[in-house]
Every structure is written in C-alpha cells, then in structure tokens.
C-alpha cells in the first residue's frame, strides 16, 4: 500500500489506544494515518495482564472504567471478531479490617454510580468457594464479578482489522521524531520516512513516549515510563477463576484463557526507565507472594517473564484531550496500570472530541491541563 502523506488525522502509536481512536475516527468518516515505530502492539498493549474492571477508588476513574467495561464486554459483536471476554471476576484479599471497611464505603459509591457493586466474602465463604487459597492472616475478601478478562492480542487484532477495513493507513516501523507546528498549530509529524501532514489534528497515543514527543513542541506532560514485569507458567486446567489479588504485598495471580498462570507483583525495581530489561528479583518476589496465597502453585513450572511500561502520571490517571499550548494537538496517554481496559471508551470519546467537538462529560476530568491547575484526581484508597 502506498502511504499517503496527507490525511485529516495523524495518530502516533499503534497500541490499543491509538488503534481504538483511529477506528472510531474512521467510523465517523475521517481519514487517518497511524505511524508506529515498531510493530502494531509492540508497546504495553501486548505486555499487559489483560484484566478489566470498573472498580476504582474514586468516582471519575470508576465512571470511565465502567463505560469502557460495558463496551469491552460487547466488543466481539461490535468489531465482528472474537475478543474473548470472560467474566472471571476480581477477588481482592484483605489482611486488615480497615481495608474491608473502606471497601464497604466504596461499594456504596459504586452502587450510586450504577456500577455492579460486588460483595464482601467472609473467611468461611472464601474457604468454601476457593479451597486452593491459604487464608492465614486474611480477614476477608471482596469479589467483583462484573469484571473480567479479554484477550489482548485478539483485541489489538480486532481493532487493526477494522481500521484496515475502514481505510486507515497503518504504517509499521515508521518513527515520529517531532510534531510539526505552524503558527501555533500542529500540522503534522516529522518521521523516519519523511513528513506526514495532518489537516485536522495530530494525536499522540504513544504510551510513555508521548511525553518525549510533546516536549518537541514545548508541551510538558508529567508521564513517567515505570517498568512493570509479569510472568507465566505452563498451562493447567482452569481452576483459579478470578484474578486473585494479594493486597498485603500488591501481587496477583490468575489463569489466562489458555490456562497459564500469570503472576505479577510490585517490586522496588518498578522504576522509571526506558529499558525492557527483566530483573531476577521480580520472579522471586512474585512467586513468593503467590505461592503463599495459593500453595499448590509451588509445583507449577514457570516458562517466561517479560517487562512493559506503566505510563504513570502523578494521580495515576490518564491524560486525555487537547493540550492548551498548541492548537490541534491532542494526547491520550498516562494510563498508568490500566490503559488497555479503558481503550474502548477512550477511543470513542476522543473521536467525538476530535471529529465532532463534543467533550464527553465522563472524559472531561482527565484533561491535560489539570496538573498545572492543581485539579488532580484523587485516589482515596491505595491498598498495599
């Protein structure tokens, strides 16, 4: 396909967010070019744990996540490609009474917002339902069964195929080097294969690299590339249904659709770095935490570990919309640990903003100007 060097929109980044924005723009009739510096999905979109939830610890994030979860659940139908969503649920395990109390308060908020509020499970109930758990030290759990998992590769592929069908030009191994600005207005991007013009807007959906590209035109975005690791084992018969979260050390385990056990854990090595280098400390820490929680995992073989990025902002929430400093320059990044699940709603809302000038009220609180103006979104409860 010969790449046209002029389109209404240039989207930088072929991750799930860039693809979803491009798909929704094209659906509204716009012409779109995506430039991706490596292959489609090569950033965090193929490195994530594939979980989607509606339950966050503030209203703004919960509302956005709920809008997205509803769309994620019916994505297969909308995109005509099986994205393999399953409602496995999230199970948070608590070691402190005060955390259970806090969950009870949040359940009221979620209920008010129309989000299925899930339920608290006592220790006896946990033992009955999940006989594989070691309950020592645990005071109770919270099960949110509206949540679930998608297949990240299938979702990426589904958007990709639909983008192509709608005429979006997707260019792999083309790296954006700089946003081009004329009279205070973004007009395109300079890339490794020449300039691409954007008649209506340039959209930066480049994960943590969004910050670097914004800097090329003097726009400062507080987004850090925090390295995050994950690992999988050999596949087993699916027994561990929900995503099991050990809130004491902030680690989790679950089974993928193929039955592999996927583990992750916070570590002191979750630091800002561009490197995808794995560490030897991570698998030890994740295995310790989750073998303690699910002792039967001790005999399961570990096969693979990898690293990706959380594009992290000071309030752990995304940056969505036009920047103030340059006209026609929009961003969608800073998703921290939960950008994939937000992609269905974010793509749709960003396209409405760009093509129709409509700012969806659920997306409005996430504007890039909030950091400078001190309107951060407060995360009230950080467990762990």
């Amino acid at each position: 396909m010969q790449a046209s060097k002029k389109s209404e929109y240039v989207v930088v980044g072929g991750g799930v967010v860039g693809l979803s924005i491009a798909y929704h723009l094209a659906k509204l009739g716009a012409s779109v070019t995506i430039v991706e510096k490596r292959y489609v999905g090569s950033g965090s979109s193929t490195r994530n744990a594939a979980n989607a939830r509606a339950h966050f610890f503030n209203r703004e994030a919960s509302l956005l996540a709920w809008e997205s979860l509803k769309r994620m659940r019916k994505l297969s139908r909308d995109l005509g490609y099986n994205t393999l969503f399953v409602r496995r649920g999230y199970l948070w395990l608590f070691y402190k009474e005060e955390h259970l109390e806090a969950m009870r308060r949040y359940m009221k908020t979620w209920k008010e917002l129309g989000i299925p509020e899930g339920k608290i499970l006592g220790v006896d109930e946990l033992a009955k339902r999940y006989p594989y758990l070691n309950l020592r030290g645990i005071v109770g759990g919270y099960l949110a069964d509206a949540n679930g998992r998608y297949h990240h590769d299938a979702v990426v592929r589904a958007y990709w195929i639909n983008c192509r069908r709608l005429g979006v030009s997707i260019l792999e191994y083309v790296e954006a080097r700089k946003v081009l600005v004329r009279s205070g207005r973004a007009v395109g991007v300079e890339t490794s294969t020449g300039a691409f013009e954007a008649e209506k807007a340039v959209v930066l959906a480049a994960g943590p690299w969004t910050r670097v590209l914004a800097e090329t035109v003097g726009v400062e975005l507080p987004i850090e590339p925090i390295r995050k690791e994950a690992m999988v084992t050999e596949p087993l018969k699916i027994t561990i249904k929900p995503l099991v979260i050990n809130t004491k050390v902030n680690a989790y385990a679950q089974q993928t659709l193929r039955g592999e056990v996927l583990l992750s854990s916070a570590t002191p090595l979750d630091v800002p770095t561009w490197s995808y280098q794995h560490t030897y400390q991570f698998p030890i820490r994740a295995a310790k935490a989750m073998v303690e929680t699910i002792p039967a995992l001790a005999t399961v073989n570990w096969l693979r570990q990898w690293a990706g990025h959380y594009a992290t902002t000071p309030d752990h929430n995304p940056v969505l919309g036009y920047v103030d400093e340059v006209e026609n320059l929009a961003v969608a990044s800073g998703f921290s640990g939960h950008g994939f699940m937000l992609a269905p709603a974010v793509g749709e809302f960003m396209a409405l903003l760009l093509e129709k000038g409509y700012l969806h009220p659920v997306m409005a609180p996430f504007d890039p100007g909030r950091f400078k103006e001190g309107r951060m979104i407060r995360e009230d409860l950080v467990i762990g």
């Binding site: 050999e234 794995h278 693979r304």
Partner: protein
Amino acid sequence: MGKVIVCFCEDVTLDEIRKAIKEGYRDLEHLKRLLGIGTGPCQGKQCLITVARILAEDTGISVSEIRLPTFRPPARPVPLGVLAGAGLEEE
C-alpha cells in the same frame, strides 16, 4: 502430503503459518501472537528459526532481515516453589 507440524509444542502446521502470512501477518511477533508459535514449553527454541525461514521463503525478505522475538528467561522451566523458596535475598 500430510500435515507438517512446525511448532511441536503448540501443534501449529505449515499450512496455518502459510495462510497467516498470506493474510498479511509478516512479522514473527504477529505470527507468534496469532498462532501461538514459540509460546510452548521450549519457548520457541525448536520452531522459531524454521518459522523465520518459511517467512523468508514466502515473502522474499532475506532470512537475515527477519527480526526474531526476544528470547526471555528462564532458559528452562523452573517450578514456582523453587523460586519462592529460593532464599535469595533481594537487593
């Protein structure tokens, strides 16, 4: 000719690989994610080089230009219990 298995761990055939290449998946990373090649117990040590060769033949790209997926630890499967009890003190 009967079925030709290229990825033994994940049971992926030559025909499946050729079909995916025809559909436009021209990167080992994409083939890996579409078909599961390279994700079995050997983590691609037996099959990825062969798949690279097939990709080269079918697309006319030279083998040396085909990007191999990153080989990741561990080199061999390790039980989680061994890791958990590793007794290695973290830094």
